[in-house]
């Protein structure tokens, strides 16, 4: 046996020795711990908290005027106060989020623009239940920095039989997380709720 083969054999055995486990800690706990630690240290530039407030102002999930912004998809682009969905010349779809009052309508608008997606809004983060979403999310979705939140989607880069799963999640009432996964259409979806460390799964978001 050559050295290379021996190395592959040993490293393969080490890799196989560790079971296929999954981390249960929701990202909210990571964010909350970082925020708490920064607060304890007395930092004035509380980035984590600041982003939560900024995002909350941006998305306004708890805004009382939700009926006013009830959106609907329109040919060539749904032009709305709360959010817009536009298709560019190259086929890329741009979602601009200012407020979000109707996740189902946003989901419908995305479908109209050729983006199969599930949009979930709430205090939980949703993901494909088996913990193994499809690869290639970064080829499909980009998140250029800036304000308001802009999500660019390339529907042509989505694998056949896939859809996007968006989780817009609140922490202490403010939106702090825009999660994305590329999942198989029809795959079971679970949602994790804070604050229980080993929280159970919630019912998945309704489709359509």
């Amino acid at each position: 046996m050559s050295d290379d083969e021996a190395t592959r054999e040993v490293l393969g055995a080490v890799k196989a020795a560790v079971p296929d486990i999954h981390m249960h800690t929701p990202v909210q706990h990571i964010v909350a711990a970082a925020r708490s630690r920064r607060r304890r240290r007395g930092l004035t530039r509380l980035a984590v908290s600041g982003l939560a407030v900024a995002a909350g102002l941006t998305l306004g999930l708890s805004a009382p005027d939700s009926g006013r912004n009830t959106p609907g998809a329109q040919p060539g682009g749904a032009r709305l106060a709360a959010w817009t969905v536009r298709t560019g010349p190259g086929g890329a779809v741009t979602v601009t989020l200012r407020q979000l009052t109707n996740a189902a309508a946003l989901q419908h608008a995305l479908a109209e623009h050729g983006v199969p997606a599930i949009v979930h809004v709430g205090d939980s983060i949703c993901f494909q239940s088996d913990g193994h979403p499809l690869p290639g999310l970064f080829r499909v979705v980009t998140h250029p920095p800036g304000f308001p939140i802009v999500i660019r989607i390339r529907p042509a880069a989505m694998p056949h039989g896939s859809e996007l799963l968006f989780s817009l999640t609140r922490i202490s009432g403010a939106v702090a997380y825009v999660g994305q996964e590329l999942i198989r259409i029809g795959a079971p979806v679970s949602c994790l709720h804070p604050p229980s460390y080993h929280s159970g799964t919630n019912p998945p978001p309704a489709k359509g």
Binding site: D3, A6, T7, V10, L11, A13, V14, K15, A16, A17, V18, P19, D20, I21, H22, M23, H24, T25, V27, H29, I30, V31, A33, A34, R37, R38, A47, V48, G50, L51, A52, A54, A55, T58, I125, F127, G131, P133, L137, H143, P144, P145, G146, F147, I149, V175, A176, Y177, V178, G179, Q180, E181
Partner: protein
């Protein structure tokens, strides 16, 4: 910008947390401790996200932080928390079962060799990136890996011989 960073971090977390957990578990052997250490690594990564997001392998940054946290924790508690029967607590069911004997040998390796294995095996980093992450020369990465493989092969062979003698 900050909201965008949060989303970016969250995506990074979802994409890399399981691999980081497996890498750290190989080194520490205890499922819950590994998750605690990796969580700590991610908390620190978020607190330093502006820096970490520029890192050539942010997942490796988390793993190294977790392993160094493990050393600090052990140094603080080694006198206060005596363990019996080795430092490998039993895995709570129904977690999948590890190859405990092999991983015990991995844990006996020096830290640098364990780091190289964690980054090469579980994070799939190449030699150049591993060297950059650890701040050592690529040739040194190869030397650590060769030494680790030789040690593990030797111990695995000894175990096989012992098992064969025990069954005859």
């Amino acid at each position: 910008m900050e909201a965008d960073s949060a989303a970016e971090f969250a995506v990074f977390y979802q994409a890399s947390r399981d691999r980081c957990l497996r890498a750290v578990l190989a080194s520490v052997g205890d499922r819950q401790l590994a998750e605690d250490l990796v969580s700590e690594g991610f908390v620190r990564a978020l607190m330093a996200w502006r820096k970490v997001r520029q890192h050539p392998a942010p997942g490796a940054w988390v793993v190294r932080t977790a392993l160094n946290t493990r050393i600090s924790w052990w140094r603080r508690h080694r006198r206060e928390v005596p363990l019996t029967g080795g430092d490998t607590p039993a895995l709570p069911s129904p977690e999948p079962v590890m190859d405990a004997a092999l991983l015990a040998e991995v844990r006996r390796l020096p830290l640098r060799q364990r780091e190289v294995i964690a980054l090469r095996v579980f994070l799939d980093l190449d030699t150049q990136t591993t060297a950059a992450v650890l701040g050592i020369a690529p040739g040194t990465v190869g030397a650590h890996l060769s030494q680790a493989v030789a040690t593990l092969r030797s111990r695995m062979s000894s175990q096989i011989s012992d098992n064969e003698e025990a069954t005859t």
